[in-house]
């Protein structure tokens, strides 16, 4: 999965926040409330995102209207899939709690956990 650059991330976040197609000038206005970017800078980055197939666009009047290809949730799912797939051998980058287990091993361990729980007479965990 291709990671975004800093400005790319800010633009994607702004488009997701809006929830509707936006022009370069719309995005520029929102981003420039906290910084000072040139119109051409934002235009170039959004054009690149379009080329990378992260944004679609359609002409409206005299300006392009941009829209993310993937929703924020879809992007989150892709990110997690990436994280889960590789977490075993990249502990220097992230350390993941969830272990890999075959279904039969899960069943065996579940039995052992329940046995230990009733043995220690702890109240059954209140499911949140």
């Amino acid at each position: 999965m291709r990671p975004f650059g800093e400005l790319e991330a800010a633009i994607m976040a702004e488009l997701w926040r809006r929830g509707e197609p936006a022009t370069v000038r719309d995005v520029l206005g929102a981003l420039n409330s906290s910084r000072n970017l040139a119109y051409t800078t934002v235009m170039t980055v959004m054009d690149n995102l379009h080329k990378k197939n992260q944004l679609t666009r359609e002409m409206s009047g005299r300006a392009w209207l941009y829209r993310p290809v993937r929703s924020r949730a879809e992007h989150a799912a892709a990110l997690l899939q990436h994280v889960l797939a590789e977490s075993g051998d990249q502990q220097e980058v992230l350390m993941h709690f969830v272990a890999e287990l075959q279904p039969d091993a899960v069943a065996q361990l579940r039995t052992a956990v329940e046995a230990a729980r009733s043995e220690s007479q702890a109240p059954p965990g209140d499911r949140a």
Partner: protein, 313 residues
Amino acid sequence: MSASLALAAIGVAILVLGPRLVDAGWTAQAPRLAILAWQALTFTAVATFVLAGVTLLIPITTLAGGLGRVFHACAESVANAYGSAEFPSGALVGILLAGLMPLWVLSCVTWELVSGWLRRRELHRSIDMVAEPDRGLGVLVVDASAPAAFCVPGRTSRIVVTTGTLDALSHDELRGVLAHEAAHLRARHNLAVTMSQALVRAFPRVRLFRAASAQTRQLIELLADDAAAASVDRVSVASAIVSLAEMRAPAAAMAMAQEGAVLRVSRLLQPLTPIDPWRHRLLAGGLWGVLLTPVLIAGLPTLSAALSDLCNI
């Protein structure tokens, strides 16, 4: 020459016998000591060969180093003590071991540190785009049903969980998971993994380094589990491991990953049996022995030459 040979022999012995630590029963009982033991073994394995190279070079440097006449006798006695290496081949091996090998290892360490840092920065950015901070729990929450709970170390380290994880776990299980991840970050476990991985990168075919890396990855999980069990209880942590594994899409689990997970759960379900204190002291002493022996062997000829009356230093 004899010092160089002795050092090389120790180095080979560590490379051959070191991987046997995998089968030692005490490592799961004392994961911290076990990580230190792997670090001592791998560090010493490299250090003995570097020192062997240094001792090969000493006769040459002391004789050709333009030491004054006053020190001529001293240099000669030091050189004699180390034995004169046949100049070209001895020097070549010496430069290779004492010069190029440390440089190579250092560049591999640097590479691992920098690439890890870059990948973490990318990951931080991707996560920040899709996660919402939960101020109560002090974590970032991603709205997704998949079971995920992980930490990303770094200057701005963070713990990330999915809504699926929050829904599936009981209060105590969740506290255990968060304590586990916080322990990773607090103790900088990623650094231990990075160092062990750098040696695998430097010498990919050496069994000792591969074993050390795989064991370090497993042992940091045991350490973090113990920290989690200290803040909740052992059964809740074990239960959280099983609950989240249950939610994962049934994929072909790697045999080794599976073994590791089974060890984690069964270890948590047994009462904690700390290692016998005398055994602990003995093992720690052995660890120091492994670390110090090469230095002593390398330094011994200089020491005895210094003590002889030829050498007034």
